[in-house]
Symmetry: C2
Subunit: 179 residues, 2 copies
């Protein structure tokens, strides 16, 4: 096998799964910065980096969000923190045909964030917000997020309370070879 | 440092960068399957897995795509293969308010694919297709992709011809702490 192969990174990708129950262990500032650095290492169309990360550490605000949002409540309540991955409108494409690239870029950043969390021993779950108008409004209301930002998802984070088995989603029928 | 920390996965995330020039080294079938497995390990809203992967190995088809598509031509021409990450409409949400989740799910899958490629020593670049109508039409024309699938991006792949330095995109101004 090629010595350049990073089996450990492949293992991280293959074993990441949604974690919704967390222990009481605190998350250090250093760990938070590491996962945000990973998120910002994502690719983006024309390198616009149209993302912004709102880090929610206070229990009270987390509870307010859990009370307001129709989804992810249980995870938010027992998480140690949460990150809202949002699009930054000032960095969107002006061309209306290209504007949705922000959603792809922020999704790549969110996936990097989840993988980095898993690599650091944390558990996390991507709770979808955008494009559901009700959820966007609920999250705006709970956090006071300005119109400049579009909340894409909220990711509760914490050290896993248990052991989660990853799903096997491999499906060769989802591959077509064109030659 | 916690022994559970997977530094190697973090390193993969932080050092991945767009690679547009490739060597002549062939990519094995096993390697292709590994990167597709990684792509399918991505999370998706309600576990819909609304993705499909079109693997383009033939030089002639790659050249046809490069001739037709307005973007990514040079990379496509010298790549050993390319993967089109597409949305599978049969797996989209029926609720029109939720339909755009496919784009987030396919983007997470594309990011996994790029990271797995990098972990395996390959280079790759995310060439945006969706939402640009012209590019979608061009790629459909070149590949004969049916209307059931929405091409999101095309990713040329190959072993890097040179050494690419990753960009440092860390920007603390893109983080807001809400407590």
């Amino acid at each position: 096998m090629d010595s350049k192969i990073n089996k450990s990174a492949l293992d991280c990708i293959m074993t990441r799964t949604s974690v919704r129950s967390y222990s009481d262990k605190e998350i250090s500032r250093e760990t938070v910065e590491t996962i945000l650095r990973a998120a910002m290492a994502a690719p983006s169309a024309m390198n616009k980096q149209p993302w912004h990360f709102f880090v929610i550490r206070g229990e009270q605000l987390r509870d307010t969000i859990a009370d307001t949002l129709e989804y992810g409540r249980q995870s938010l309540r027992n998480a140690k923190m949460a990150v809202v991955v949002a699009g930054d409108r000032s960095r969107f494409f002006e061309d209306v045909e290209a504007v949705d690239y922000w959603l792809e870029d922020c999704s790549a950043a969110a996936e990097n964030l989840l993988l980095a969390a898993h690599a650091l021993g944390l558990g996390a779950v991507w709770c979808g917000v955008y494009p559901i108008p009700g959820r966007i409004a609920q999250l705006r209301k709970a956090t006071g997020l300005s119109g400049e930002f579009v909340p894409m998802c909220i990711i509760p984070l914490g050290y896993p309370a248990g052991v989660e088995e990853p799903k096997d989603k491999w499906d060769p029928d989802k591959v077509t070879y064109l030659d």
